[in-house]
């Protein structure tokens, strides 16, 4: 081969390398672009849900109208009606309103406003018979209008608030009576038919309880199963079949585990429907093979010389594995488990099958309380027509992504931390 030919060959090689690099960068950029579009979309439509719009009203805590006095016990206060003083305050916004429009005036705040008043009074009993300025949650429709999620310049019959309500709202706004504050109730409240009241409290707790049940079951079982299969089980037909099945189970569509849970846990064992207990059981079945596989890989990656070193010192097999192999496999084991759990956290279909799709308006406390979970909440709200649920859907996705990122980065952190320690 002369130098000319060699040069041509080299040039070909360089351009092939360049082409390959270009395609690689191109595909990565494309992936990043799509991810950015997705995140941008979710964040722009979801961020506003973390704030809520309130109307500052002058409320007269008139003891005659409330039918209470300084000495009324809390129980009686809770039973009394704060609607009248609220309505008085709202009607005061436009004293000239014709009778027909009065109902529209009352509707500009959320139906929760009267309970907000009650909660305020229970904390501030010294305000009896005083006139106090209190901020109350606006109705969902005006909330959406204020946040710019809903256009104002469309015909009256095509929006959910009237021209009259719009006029009152604008008046209040020009007097700085409309304020925005952080939406704590979004994190505290359970689901509700009223978008301005609906929150992820129930599904957040539900998700945590479900994942907790899943973790408690799947991690010890999966970890020990992996140790046994990898370190102790004899290599024969039976263990081979088990190994193949574990791999197959990891690939089974999750909805199948939902059917299994429905058939076994609900219909046979009569465990309580819609609960984190059953959800966790189902997800544990699904997660088990997804934990066993990375745990086995982590154990396999430990150099056999460590095992032999311990055995040669007269350690038993269990000692050799538990004292020396497992610590080295731990980072891989933990990160595998966390990634398995984060998959479980985003799982929807199997939980719908075991009834976690029910409308839950109380925040659960125990794993046997009916509850919702975050991904199913996303599914439920995405089906709702009200504009207010759209931002809630995206906001819930943001929370879900937050937890997923948190879990996955802790997996990476753990892996790096322990790997550095021993190498």
């Amino acid at each position: 081969m002369n130098s000319k030919q060699k040069e041509i060959l080299m040039r070909k090689r360089y351009s092939a390398e360049k082409r390959f690099k270009f395609f690689g960068i191109f595909s990565i950029s494309l992936a990043i672009l799509f991810l950015c579009i997705l995140l941008f979309n979710i964040f722009t439509s979801g961020l506003s849900a973390f704030f809520k719009t309130k109307l500052i009203l002058k409320i007269n805590f008139d003891e005659k109208k409330l039918g209470i006095n300084m000495n009324t016990p809390d129980e009686a206060i809770k039973a009394s009606n704060f609607n009248e003083i609220l309505q008085d305050a709202l009607l005061n916004l436009d004293l000239l309103a014709p009778d027909l429009k009065k109902i529209e005036l009352i509707d500009i705040v959320s139906i929760d406003a009267t309970y907000e008043l009650k909660r305020f009074y229970l904390q501030n009993k010294d305000q009896l018979n005083k006139i106090v300025e209190i901020s109350l949650t606006l109705s969902d429709d005006l909330d959406q209008l204020y946040k710019g999620n809903f256009p104002r310049d469309i015909p009256e019959d095509r929006r959910r608030f009237s021209d009259f309500q719009l006029k009152v709202f604008d008046e209040q706004n020009s007097q700085n009576k409309i304020i925005t504050e952080f939406n704590f109730s979004f994190f505290k409240n359970a689901d509700s038919r009223e978008p301005e009241l609906a929150g992820i409290g129930a599904s957040l707790i539900g998700s945590l309880l479900t994942i907790l049940v899943c973790l408690i079951l799947s991690f010890p079982i999966g970890f020990l199963a992996a140790i046994y299969l990898e370190e102790f089980a004899p290599k024969n037909k039976i263990t081979e079949i088990i190994e193949i099945n574990v791999n197959n189970l990891a690939a089974v569509p999750s909805i199948v585990f939902g059917l299994l849970g429905l058939g076994v846990f609900l219909n046979y064992f009569y465990l309580p429907r819609s609960t984190p207990l059953v959800g966790g059981l189902v997800l544990a079945l699904m997660t088990l093979p997804r934990i066993i596989i990375p745990c086995r890989a982590a154990l396999k990656a430990v150099s056999p010389s460590i095992r032999e070193g311990a055995l040669a010192l007269g350690a038993s097999k269990v000692q050799a594995v538990m004292h020396n192999v497992v610590p080295l496999a731990l980072p891989g084991t933990l990160s595998g488990t966390i990634i398995g759990l984060s998959q479980a956290l985003g799982e929807t279909a199997p939980l719908i099958l075991i009834g976690m799709v029910a409308f839950i308006n109380v925040v659960p406390t125990y794993p046997i309380d009916p509850s919702a979970v975050l991904p199913v909440q996303v599914y439920l709200w995405s089906e709702s027509a009200e504009r207010g649920f759209v931002e809630k859907t995206s906001a819930t996705i943001i929370i879900l992504i937050f937890f997923l990122v948190l879990m996955n980065s802790s997996a990476i952190y753990l892996r790096n931390k322990f790997e550095k320690k021993w190498s």
Binding site: P234, K235, S303, S305, I306, R307, E308, G309, A310, L311, A312, L313, G314, A315, S316, Q319, H323, N324, P327, L328, K421, W422, S423
Partner: protein
């Protein structure tokens, strides 16, 4: 010569990996408090042989060991023997340093702990210190006993593994190419160490280096294709071997 007591003797030792025979009728006697070097080309069965002496071949499912291996006259190649007791008596140092994922201290203390050799913390401290001193590592690590053993250099790691081995007071130390992963300076240190250790222990060392075998050992065995072709004093083997193949191997004509 006096003190020529036989520590280990094998008789008609045959080893199979599944159906493949790796060792053929090995009959040798290893002397107490002497260093025996085993040499021979790769794959001739040196590792297989020394792994018989502490029953490490039990770990390999397909490996079958037949014949007699006696230590101090007691048969160790029989079924219902607790292998952990043999391994307490016959320690092993591997080709690649393999410190445990623990601190330097815990690496050395591991054996005494699992065998319950120390009554209290003080006596454990003593064992660790003495073992590290015998392994000529104490001065280098005494200020960082709590740091991971994996943080040491290769040669230090190998001496840590030697300290770990002698921490449980074995009678025999098997070394399978202990210097093949080390640089010449670290190798020299280990060789020096072997010279000291033979006062107390019976040592069997597999090595690829002829000069190392010549320097450290009293007796040398030459393995070839699973057979022991020649076993004699090191002096004899290197000066005037009986076997032509031995001659060729030590002069580097094949291997």
């Amino acid at each position: 010569m006096i003190n020529e007591k036989i520590k280990i003797s094998t008789k008609n030792l045959n080893v199979f990996y599944a159906s493949k025979q790796a060792l053929f009728d090995i009959n040798i006697n290893l002397k107490e408090n002497k260093v025996t070097a085993l040499i021979g080309p790769s794959g001739c069965g040196k590792s297989t042989f020394i792994r018989c002496l502490n029953r490490m071949n039990d770990v390999i499912d397909i490996c079958k060991v037949e014949g007699s291996i006696k230590i101090d006259g007691d048969e160790i190649n029989k079924k219902n023997l607790d292998v952990n007791l043999i391994r307490e008596k016959v320690g092993m140092v591997f080709q690649k340093p393999n410190p445990f994922p623990k601190s330097i201290y815990d690496n050395v203390a591991y054996g005494p702990r699992i065998h319950g050799l120390a009554e209290n913390r003080e006596s454990l401290d003593n064992i660790v210190e003495n073992s590290l001193k015998k392994a000529a590592l104490w001065d280098e690590v005494k200020d960082r006993l709590n740091q991971p053993g994996t943080g040491l250099s290769g040669g230090q790691q190998q001496r840590l593994c030697i300290a770990r081995t002698i921490s449980i007071n074995p009678e025999v130390i098997l070394m399978d190419e202990p210097c093949s992963a080390l640089d010449p300076i670290a190798t020299a240190k280990i060789e020096e160490l072997i010279d000291e250790l033979k006062e107390t222990y019976t040592i069997v060392i597999v090595t690829h280096s002829m000069s190392q075998a010549a320097r450290v050992s009293n007796d040398t065995g030459f393995f070839h294709l699973g057979k022991i072709l020649e076993f004699n004093s090191t002096e004899k083997i290197f000066k005037n071997p009986d076997n032509k193949l031995t001659q060729d191997y030590i002069t580097g004509r094949f291997g």
